[in-house]
């Protein structure tokens, strides 16, 4: 039997969710023994591969690059997981939404907003599932390592991620 192919992606988030994943410490090795990590900001792989079984996506969809990446992820992966509050409901990445894009850019860059070398922000930062279909959600900011472990254990065994209430609270 081939081992499941796991990917992790970092969209517009603070990388805290990936830190939380690393905070699995020793358990992370256990997880990695059960699968192949085929794409991740933690690994030096340039292109998102085809045939991914499970992908954990951190961060909201906040710019054009994110949006394009989200499309690629959906096309090339079987099970897409929104990892953490930013991916699940926009959270901190979406704090700019009430003010609107122009006000946000003005506040950050003053007179001269960046040109084409920086990814164009979308008018609003949105949760992943408002851009592509998402198969499982893991709230938390960041989701505690224990939550990630539980979720991955289920998914790697091909079971649905039925987490108890205390494991799905936001924040």
């Amino acid at each position: 039997m081939t081992r499941p192919r796991l990917a992790t992606v970092w969209l517009s988030g603070c990388s805290g969710c990936h830190m939380s994943l690393l905070n699995l410490h020793g358990d992370l090795l256990g997880v990695l023994e059960q699968c192949d990590l085929v794409y991740s900001p933690l690994a030096d792989i340039k292109e998102y591969p085809h045939g991914v079984d499970i992908v954990l996506v951190e961060g909201a969809v906040a710019n054009e690059d994110n949006r394009e990446m989200a499309g690629i992820i959906r096309r090339r992966s079987a099970c897409v997981v929104s990892l953490g509050d930013c991916a699940v409901n926009g959270n901190v990445s979406a704090l700019r939404n009430p003010s609107g894009l122009a006000a946000t850019l003005g506040r950050v860059y003053g007179e001269a907003p960046p040109g084409h070398d920086v990814a164009q922000l979308l008018p609003r930062a949105v949760p992943l599932h408002q851009v592509i279909g998402v198969d499982a959600f893991l709230p938390g900011c960041p989701p505690a390592p224990e939550r990630i472990r539980r979720l991955l254990t289920c998914l790697l065994q091909g079971q649905p991620a039925g987490l108890p209430p205390e494991m799905i609270s936001f924040g």
Partner: protein, 542 residues
């Protein structure tokens, strides 16, 4: 707005045997009736013709309307009068002719085919003249009721008439009166609901502007029947003319001993006060209305207790629609059996409809309940600008009737069977140039704006439903959005606190029922079949 108040003039035919009535309802005033009245008065003064201002004659979109009565001749209605045209017409009459220009056919269906019970004196009497109303039978029923009937008998008579509330729900009026009558407590109140906030509804305005005494009389009879000494009329703020005429009528009736202390020497006292709304649709809902009357924020509270149990200032309160009160005097005068003979079993009496939209003549129609929709349309001269597509009943709380059901008898149950409601009587006719998703979107935005914000399902649900409909209109929606919209609508209907939120989804569910393929055109083909929705957006979901 300053409106002319016609001077008290005797509505008798004098001099040349000519009586001219100029409609001074708001629609006719808006199209220049004031100038017509002034020109006629300046030209002829008091003699040899009587020129009186009246309320609405019915075909409002053809205003300014005038009516010319001459001894020995059929009554003639003239439409779209200018001051000059009116003077020319009257001059011709004085010379013995009856000009064709602007004259409606003698059997003009909009007028000829009406069965006027509630509106019987609208457009006939001078609404600002108590004598004019009394000469036409006004307050006779009140005198009879307090002179010859006991409160029990009145409640019984109203119950036997089969009258149902005209405010939308169709609750049996006699039952409601009896509940309030039987309620204990020293103080009781009678409230007339003249909020009429539904888009496309203007029946109650017509009655309040054209025959205010009819409402006062109905309320006074109710007061006597249920044992109340105080009444309130809640008039929506957008109806200044109605409020003004009602206010004057209350004063006049008080001076004549028909309201106030010791009415007609009977020992029964009843005082009526006006309350003006501040522009919230939800204040038509009875508990919100009462809150507003008491000077509180106009938002609904949970029922039970119903107003009949605990209403204004904790006392048992009778709330009826303006038109419901308009039915009372004729029932007392002619008897319950007569009222039942009009309409159909279970739906006795008449109903006033305000018909507007894509029809040849917009205005106010009164017909027996159970009249087929097709006949109503025919009375209004048929559909204009295209073929019939649908008719919206019940405004933002109602649904539409498609062409395939044009023969439906317009009564409470039949409309319910088609997924819509009678509502208060607004009837909006739409031709095939209209987009039904756009119609649903309009009404959902209306409900979103009008939600009082108290309960979560209505406040938040209307916001989300309006967004989903915006996406559909912009060609950005997916089929998931339609199912989410449907789910949301069912949810709001089940869980909202008051009738506004419960009924807000009706236009959507109704258009989905009859015109689902139009929604699918918007979503699947990104196309608006009627060419109404702009479809500017691009799909933003993969």
């Amino acid at each position: 707005m300053k409106t002319p108040e016609p001077k008290n003039e005797k509505p008798t035919v004098c001099g040349g045997g000519l009586k001219i009535s100029v409609c001074l309802g708001s629609p006719c005033l808006a199209s220049g009736a004031e100038g017509v009245l002034r020109a006629l008065r300046e030209a002829w003064g008091e003699k040899p013709i009587a020129v009186i201002g009246t309320g609405c004659m019915g075909p409002c979109s053809r205003g300014p309307m005038i009516r010319i009565e001459r001894d020995g001749y059929p009554t003639a209605y003239y439409e779209r009068m200018t001051p000059q045209a009116a003077c020319t017409t009257v001059a011709a009459y004085l010379a013995g002719a009856a000009p064709e220009q602007g004259r409606l056919a003698p059997d003009f269906p909009f007028i000829a085919l009406q069965t006027r019970v509630v509106l019987e004196q609208c457009g006939r009497i001078d609404p600002c003249d108590l004598n004019s109303a009394r000469a036409a039978g006004g307050y006779r029923a009140l005198a009879h009721a307090i002179g010859k009937m006991t409160p029990e008998q009145i409640c019984c008579e109203i119950g036997a008439s089969g009258l149902r509330g005209r405010g939308g729900g169709g609750y049996p009026t006699g039952t409601k009166w009896e509940l309030v009558r039987a309620a204990s407590g020293r103080r009781k109140y009678v409230v007339a609901n003249g909020d009429e906030g539904d888009p496309g509804a203007f029946m109650d305005r017509t009655l309040m502007e054209s025959d205010p005494h009819r409402l006062l009389e109905g309320m006074a009879i109710a007061g006597y029947a249920v044992g109340a000494r105080d009444g309130f009329i809640f008039v929506r703020g957008e109806y200044p003319l109605a409020a003004q005429r009602l206010g004057a009528a209350i004063v006049d009736a008080g001076k004549a001993g028909l309201l106030g202390r010791n009415i007609l020497g009977s020992g029964f006292s009843f005082r009526i006060r006006l309350r003006i709304g501040a522009g919230a649709f939800v204040c038509g809902e009875e508990t919100a209305l009462m809150a507003s009357v008491m000077g509180r924020r106009g938002q609904p509270v949970i029922r039970p207790p119903y107003p009949a149990q605990r209403g204004l200032w904790g006392s048992s309160t009778l709330i009826n629609n303006v038109e419901t009160f308009g039915c009372i005097a004729p029932i007392i005068r002619n008897g319950a059996a007569w009222f039942r003979s009009v309409g159909t079993p279970g739906n006795s009496g008449t109903k006033v409809f305000s018909i507007s939209g894509d029809v040849a003549t917009e205005g106010v129609l009164e017909v027996p309940l159970g009249t087929p929709l097709r006949e109503l349309l025919a009375m209004a001269g048929g559909v204009s600008g295209g073929s019939f597509k649908a008719a919206q009943t019940g405004g933002a709380s109602g649904g539409c009737i498609p062409a395939s059901h044009m023969d439906v008898p317009v009564d409470y149950e039949s409309l319910k069977g088609l997924g819509t409601i009678m509502g208060s009587g607004g009837l909006i006719v739409m031709n095939d140039q209209r987009c039904m998703t756009d119609v649903a979107r309009f009404f959902m935005h209306f409900c979103q704006d009008e939600s009082c914000g108290k309960c979560a399902p209505c406040r938040t649900g209307t916001q989300q439903a309006a967004r989903l409909l915006d996406r559909i209109a912009a060609g950005e929606a997916t089929s998931d959005d339609i199912s989410q919209l449907e789910q949301l609508c069912r949810f709001m209907r089940e869980t909202s606190l008051c009738g506004l939120g419960m009924a807000a989804p009706t236009p959507v569910l109704s258009t989905l029922r009859w015109f689902r393929e139009e929604y699918e055109n918007h979503v699947r083909d990104r196309r608006c079949p009627a060419g109404v929705c702009a479809m500017e957006g691009t799909p933003c979901r993969d």
